[in-house]
């Protein structure tokens, strides 16, 4: 009855800030960043990206409790940059990598569509299915119009 909604584990509450930065009081050029409603998916990725930066002396993350939907990331730099800056750089770089990867995927998928030839392209043209050629369930599936898998209009403009 009074259980909290399950989506509270990954949706920010109203007025809740996603990121909170606390400078370390004892170690120079160090900070702890608390990122809310995120988990290992983002934490480990950012940690790894931070470690690729030579100005970062230390980067580590932890999820203090599996039932609490946030993680902490500790960063120490060598003083040439601030922890906030390196974190920002790391995030920008990750977003860049993701967009190059997206472009690569797009290209690869379009090659695959072209390779699979008439069937696949026909599927794309009539807007049926994903236009993927080989039919693991035997013929007829891709041509099934709206009944194809993930079918209907092909809004994904690959």
């Amino acid at each position: 009855m009074n259980a909290p909604s399950r989506y509270e584990l990954f949706v920010l509450d109203e007025g809740e800030k996603a990121v909170e930065i606390t400078d370390d009081t004892k170690i120079p050029n160090a900070a702890t960043v608390k990122i809310l409603k995120q988990d290992h998916t983002l934490g480990n990725m950012i940690r790894a990206q931070l470690l690729a930066n030579p100005t970062v002396l230390f980067a580590g993350y932890k999820v203090p409790h599996p039932l609490h939907p946030y993680f902490l990331i500790k960063i120490q730099t060598d003083g040439t940059t601030t922890p906030t800056d390196v974190l920002q750089q790391a995030c920008t770089k990750l977003i860049g990598t993701l967009s190059t990867l997206e472009a690569k995927f797009k290209r690869e998928f379009s090659f695959k569509d072209a390779e699979s030839g008439g069937g696949g392209m026909g599927g794309m043209a009539t807007g049926a299915g994903m236009g993927t050629g080989d039919d693991p369930y035997g013929g007829g599936g891709a041509g099934g119009g709206a009944q194809g898998w993930g079918g209907g209009r092909d809004y994904l403009d690959f």
């Binding site: 934490g43 699979s116 050629g133 369930y137 009944q147 994904l156």
Partner: protein
């Protein structure tokens, strides 16, 4: 006649989330295989092996990338197999953490549509209401472009549910014959939303209706409905005189909330097929060689370690083999593409 509203409880099915904890930051993961499957060896044609990962253009880009990226190469992708419900690809020049995040996002962060509420009117079958409600929740529904085609129920301004944030399905089956009858996902019918009536509590006029135009024709229908080549999902078996009548409300969600919203049925992820990194040097019974099954397909992509080769302590995994298998709610293409579109907030 019993009338009960059931919601899929948190306790009924473990959320995918809890399974993830294994990916800790401090110990580098050992060989991880999820939903390990036997792969077709014939796919590893030498043609794929011959494709170089570096195009001349990529080489030019490299110089700029190197100064920015601390010497990292640009990531490359090679799709080895693409079928209607699965894709097999090799990802190179990325970090292990990055590849793992990709895997996690595909499994748990991509929105799909699944039955979330069930109102049971008549249930004279042998299965209890909860049982049937749970089964209904697990049925994959076509969710192409769910990102834009439907709102989250929690973000919607409607009091309970409306056509912008939910899909209504009905099922009414009764057996009048003297033999066992199957109730399957094909008996689920989507109630078409009325395009013309406007929700009375809709404040802003600008954005209503936008979702509906982005839906595919069979959005929210059980996957494979009307496709004779695909066997439907069995919900219940009934005999003469038994009846099942219910109404379902399907909503958008992600698998972090409940595993039923995951678009993937299996994601296999592998790196270092020959265990050159020796993640499990001491973890064997008799011989580390014989107890390390080399995957048929991925093993051919990399050279096995020679006996005279010295162990490289600084080696890092940089080639990852993925096989993404979807449950049909989304195409594999969409799953992988949506992947990168998930917005990461800074």
């Amino acid at each position: 006649m019993s009338l009960s509203v059931l919601e899929h409880g948190v306790s009924e099915t473990p959320s995918v989330n809890s399974e993830f904890e294994a990916a800790d930051s401090y110990h580098r993961g050992c060989k991880r295989r999820e939903g390990a499957k036997t792969l077709d060896a014939s796919l590893a044609s030498p043609r794929y092996l011959a494709i170089s990962s570096q195009s001349p253009r990529a080489f030019l880009l490299l110089h700029t990338m190197q100064s920015l990226n601390g010497g990292d190469l640009e990531p490359t992708v090679r799709i080895r197999e693409l079928k209607k419900d699965r894709v097999n690809f090799v990802l190179e020049n990325v970090d292990l953490a990055f590849a793992n995040s990709l895997r996690r996002v595909m499994m748990a962060d991509i929105p799909t549509v699944a039955i979330d509420m069930v109102v049971i009117e008549i249930n004279t079958t042998v299965l209890p209401d909860e049982f049937i409600a749970h089964r209904l929740g697990m049925i994959p529904l076509v969710s192409s472009n769910a990102e834009e085609a439907i709102r989250y129920n929690r973000d919607c301004t409607c009091p309970v549910s409306c056509k912008y944030c939910s899909i209504d399905l009905v099922l009414h089956v009764a057996c009048h014959e003297g033999k066992t009858m199957d109730i399957t996902s094909n008996h689920l019918d989507v109630i078409a939303p009325n395009m013309f009536d406007t929700p009375d509590d809709q404040g802003e006029v600008g954005d209503y209706g936008e979702e509906l135009t982005k839906r595919v024709e069979n959005f929210g229908h059980p996957v494979g409905k009307g496709d004779p080549s695909m066997p439907p999902v069995l919900i219940c078996k009934i005999r003469k005189g038994q009846e099942l009548k219910l109404k379902c409300i399907a909503k958008k969600g992600i698998a972090k909330e409940h595993a039923k919203w995951s678009p993937c049925s299996a994601v296999s992820f592998e790196y270092d097929p020959h265990n050159k990194l020796r993640h499990t040097t001491y973890w064997f019974e008799n011989s580390s060689k014989t107890e390390w099954p080399v995957s048929e397909l991925n093993g051919k992509e990399e050279e096995p370690e020679r006996d005279d080769e010295a162990f490289d302590f600084n080696a890092k995994p940089n080639r990852f083999y993925f096989e993404v298998e979807t449950d049909g709610s989304l195409g594999p293409q969409e799953v992988v593409m949506k992947n990168s579109k998930q917005n990461w907030q800074t």
